[in-house]
Amino acid sequence: MSNATKKTATEARAELKTVKQTPGASKPDAILVVDNVVRDFGGNRAVDVDHLEVQRGVITALIGPNGAGKTTFFNLITGFDQPSSAKKMFGGPSADKAAKWSFNGKLLGNTAAASVAKSGMVRTFQLTKALSRLTVMQNMLLGAKDQRGESFLAAFVKPLWAAQEKANIAKAEDLLKRFKLYEKKEDLAGSLSGGQKKLLEMARALMSDPVMIMLDEPMAGVNPALTQSLLGHIQSLRDEGTTVLFVEHDMHMVRHISDWVVVMAEGRVVAEGPADTVMSDQAVIDAYLGAHHDTDLGDDALLEEGAMDAPKKEKK
């Protein structure tokens, strides 16, 4: 791990107990700090995050209704998309309003996706991106970092990279065994089932020993039996010191494994906190069910002007 003062996952989780449960709360040991990230698609503001910190060494879930901007936010911080609030050479926002985010103490604004991954923040995709016409093993080996054989001239001379390749293969075999894909290693990745592709993608991301792994809906399309073992994998990742940030719709899973939950709605962070308390937060209920979810629509009184605003005030 790059972090010199290595903590155990239990310590990291214990630290979270002291954190205030307000959107944008500061964490005792933040690995990812995001400021002023805004992304506009035409007139539609998809993401508008003022401040967010992610604690090192724990599992953080990013939840929110469809269209809340979770995946766009993922794309922005991993370099697959640029924020509209990015610093520009001419014009653009002033320095204190410009998008700025740092990972592991390193500023990451305007960084290409490949460099973000190299710095240790590796992501997976909502729609799996298994490389179909490569074998499962080749998929895995692609994940390994700093390969000598990937430089053009060294590629011609096998002795220069054979030893490293061998070590990578051994590591890949271990990971494949853990993810129950070992028997499939010589099959083309395109022949795997949807759930197996999810597993492969996660295993492939782990080949680079990421400091933080970002999973975009890891459970979508995975059968329940497999979900159990996936959850186990994610928890063991945390216990080995990897920070996990994941987007998920399945509340059951979120409740089960996450140490901290960040809720997004309409592009903003509306709440954060431990799973059990955040679910009962008024802002979260509003975001998921609508502010008027317990209003009786058959009530004639609602037909009057302004009546819809009333229940909201009552609750406050």
Partner: protein, 328 residues
Amino acid sequence: MDMWIKVLYDMSANMILPTTAAFAIAAIGLNVHFGFTGLLNMGQAGFMLIGAYGFSVATIAGLPFWAATLVTIAAGTIFALLLGIPTLKLRGDYLAIVTIAAAEIVRMIGRASVLNSVTGGSNGLPGETYRNTFSALSPFPDGKTAILWFDFDNTGVNGWFIRIVAWSLVVIFAVLVWLLMRSPWGRVIKGIREDEDAVRSLGKNVFAFKMQALIIGGVLGAIGGMFYVLPTSVQPDALGRNMTFLIWTAMLLGGAATIWGPVLGSALFFALRIFIQGTVDILIPDAILNTQQTEQFSWIMVGVALMLLVIFRPQGILGDKKELNFNV
């Protein structure tokens, strides 16, 4: 019976022509682009023409053979850089549009009358003006040699020397491509063909890898162009869009993303065309199709063959059927 033997002789002679070898080299380059990296290069003939001009103009200007070869390689590299810098960050289709346009630009500039003194305009450059530095390298004595049923000059315009050099290069380049593609570098390249974003998310600089692949394929195209014009002459119109599509046909026939596919495809391509032409010439009386028309007919059949190929056997002769089950 004699006519059939002549067809067979023509087929085999066409397979080992130096221009067939040159064609195979360009096809290997295109295979690096399309087959392995997934770059849609629709202007491989442009790379060939650039290489052909690079070599011939440099030689006519007085450079020795090796220096002119370096000029060829440099020309291919620069052309690839020029095409790649603006387009490789965009989606693949844009590269196709830009390459086909760039190849046409090279051809148009080559045949512009303003450049008559350099490129010979639309008349091109006759082979004897730049061929001698290459012929002078031949270690063979004067005279003719017969091997099997072939009887060619040792060194001449269309002799054994250029055949041996060109086909040796085909083998060398195929082996080099094989070395590249079994390495981690080749793995990244093939990953890019499947899904750029996935490879990017694993920390690889996709742009740099694509650029390297574009340059390698482009340089192979340029060298192919150089060997294409050595036994003939530089004719900008001979290396136009047609040429690009013929190379595509040969590559797809042999099998894209295989090492020997483009080579086998090139040799078969020329043999098959001669076979169609010869057979039609023998079987169909002149009153219906005369000899000139049979040649045109054979080219039409090439087009039909390309269509049948991509519909019924897109993986080509050497390709792996398994890979097609989940084609993108």
